[in-house]
Symmetry: C2
């Protein structure tokens, strides 16, 4: 049986969790919105199943829920912000709002955020810009799990790139790790006793490894072995390109913000993230008539989707389409929460004195 809950109720519940943990109401609401949007988009790995982790992170002092962003440097087109290790999602929404305001006033807004925490679903932030008919872009560095070309040490994160622009009927929204697969896939394959594909990961010796538990142990050890960059091992399939994109993200996040690089995140102290994020909003009205440009993009994406298929049974998607279709369904039918996750959320609710049964009743009428 599927456990589906109205997304508004889930959002309220997550907001309440962050409030009880000490967050201001607005910050809690922002974080809840990002988290539940991931569930709406069927990106479960960044949805409510992470809430118990965030709860633990607050208890261990990694996340300081009451912390407020502080602007350290500012120009009409830019800002450097210190997040003081607050809630990553709330800080990121605040920074993207700042970038959007600057883009509306000056054409472009570029915000660099240091001392942040995991900001979840990277695509959410470009989406905020897209809604305002601006181009949105965001990257973040993360805990080092990527082994660069010819290396055996994991010194880069999954370092995702998120980028988007308004189009109809589906906005274009690219949200991709620069690793070939996310770390969560290794855990999933490990749990299910499945072998990894050759070209996904390397063992402690830096050679391709298909044994999921071995790779999982490498990632946990934070020493050698880990996940390969997009393009896989060596240069034959462009692994050096994925490695380079990871480095581009590292420059735009850790280096620009004066924060730690991925190789240090959670290594100096397993309960300290302090990762860095980067946000851009750009007004394409500087280059042409926005409605015309959006129509041009919509037409082009339509041409791609309706092209001749390699396999007639497999549709051609453009980026963000699957997620937007899922969101449409989930808004109407409720977001899916696995029973195991629901149990963990109940535990968090009990710890914090939230009446989870009331929430359940409300969300399962």
């Amino acid at each position: 049986m599927e456990n589906r809950y109205p997304h508004e109720s889930v959002t309220q519940f997550v907001e309440e969790v962050f409030c009880r943990l000490g967050a201001r109401r607005q910050d809690a609401g922002r974080a809840a919105e990002v988290i539940v949007t991931a569930d709406l988009f069927d990106i479960f790995t960044h949805g409510v199943e992470r809430v118990p982790d965030y709860y633990e992170a607050v208890r261990h002092g990694r996340i300081h829920p009451a912390a407020q962003p502080e602007i350290l440097r500012e120009t009409p087109v830019s800002a450097l912000v210190d997040g003081h290790e607050g809630i990553g999602h709330a800080l990121a929404v605040w920074c993207m709002e700042l970038a959007i305001r600057k883009a509306k006033e000056s054409g472009v807004g570029i915000v660099s955020l240091r001392n942040s925490n995991h900001y979840g679903f990277a695509g959410y932030y470009p989406l905020m810009a897209i809604r305002e008919h601006l181009i949105g872009f965001s990257v973040t560095n993360t805990e080092g799990i990527m082994v660069g070309t010819n290396s055996r040490q994991a010194l880069l994160g999954t370092n995702p790139i998120a980028f988007g622009m308004y189009a109809e009927p589906y906005v274009f929204l690219l949200d991709m790790a620069t690793t070939v697969i996310p770390a969560g896939k290794v855990s999933l394959y490990s749990r299910d006793g499945r072998d990894l594909e050759r070209g996904w990961a390397v063992g402690a010796d830096g050679r391709v490894c298909t044994d999921a538990p071995t790779v999982r142990a490498c990632i946990n050890s934070k020493k050698t072995g880990g996940i390969l960059p997009l393009g896989g091992e060596g240069e034959t399939f462009g692994g050096h390109k994925g490695y380079g994109l990871g480095l581009m993200v590292e420059i735009l996040s850790g280096i620009l913000a004066g924060g730690d690089t991925s190789n240090l995140i959670r290594r100096l102290d397993p309960w300290v993230d302090r990762n860095s994020e980067f946000f851009v909003a750009m007004d394409y009205g500087m280059f042409g008539e926005p409605a015309q440009m959006e129509a041009h993009l919509s037409d082009y994406l339509h041409t791609l989707r309706t092209a001749e298929r390699a396999d007639p049974a497999v549709p051609i998607y453009t980026h963000g389409e699957k997620e937007q279709r899922a969101a449409e369904y989930n808004r109407a039918h409720g977001v899916l929460i696995h029973e195991k996750t629901a149990q963990k959320l109940l535990h968090v609710a009990q710890e914090l004195g939230i009446d989870f049964d009331a929430c359940r009743k409300k969300i399962q009428p």
Copy 2:
């Protein structure tokens, strides 16, 4: 026997070719500098071996050497430029210089160029910004040869991404096609009778094809089949990510500039490119002390290069390092020009009435 020529003499020769074709001296010099820098960096596919192609393109009316860039829209941080189908390299240098001036005045400069031609070595333009201690970024759309995920039609170009920042002893310079391999590799494998790797290309039916002449014919037909995105076929190795990066480039180039998208380049008319390019220069002084940030990046790149190797015999590189090492050698010993290319250049010289022997004498003392 290796044919090596002092790079200054080669640059002078290329400049003379463009001048005789009707370019202004400054534009010819700019184009020659970009082209010969590619040879210095051992990126031969974008070096002087292309000069005979450019000569043909001028003769067929694709490139209008005397055309001058025109600013159509401008703000303190941006410009939309019409290239009037001039020399791609010269237009691009002009646009990057404009972006750099804006970055110095306003923190960031973003220039969109329409009606351009092939601009050669994409990494050259970020390099211009890097020299000024700015972050440099450039993308361009190109003739459609990439077959997106689940498609069988080549509707995207190799759509390269070039990005860089100053570091010592090697600046970081990423310059990558968003396809898994460049089109030139298919020609090379076809000539040498070698099979392509599985995951590089698909045939007319949209299925993986390892026969190089078949793929070459697909590319020439401009119908179905072609090269796969970075990440290869389907989604198993992240092919949808390379496809998405190609689309990001398409938005930043063709869509922003109001130009053609890759699927139309050289299809409406084989002798018309009209591709679109995009240039960004960004002053990281907005976020911190530049020298400190550059030292931070230099340290991090050093950590990567000196990490434990997968194979002790294979060095770990950071991006642009190989090319900068090559340039050091080639500046001292001359750039390598294959005999076949030299013959073609001699032919161009004869057609244009340039005393190629004098050039040869000067460059082979």
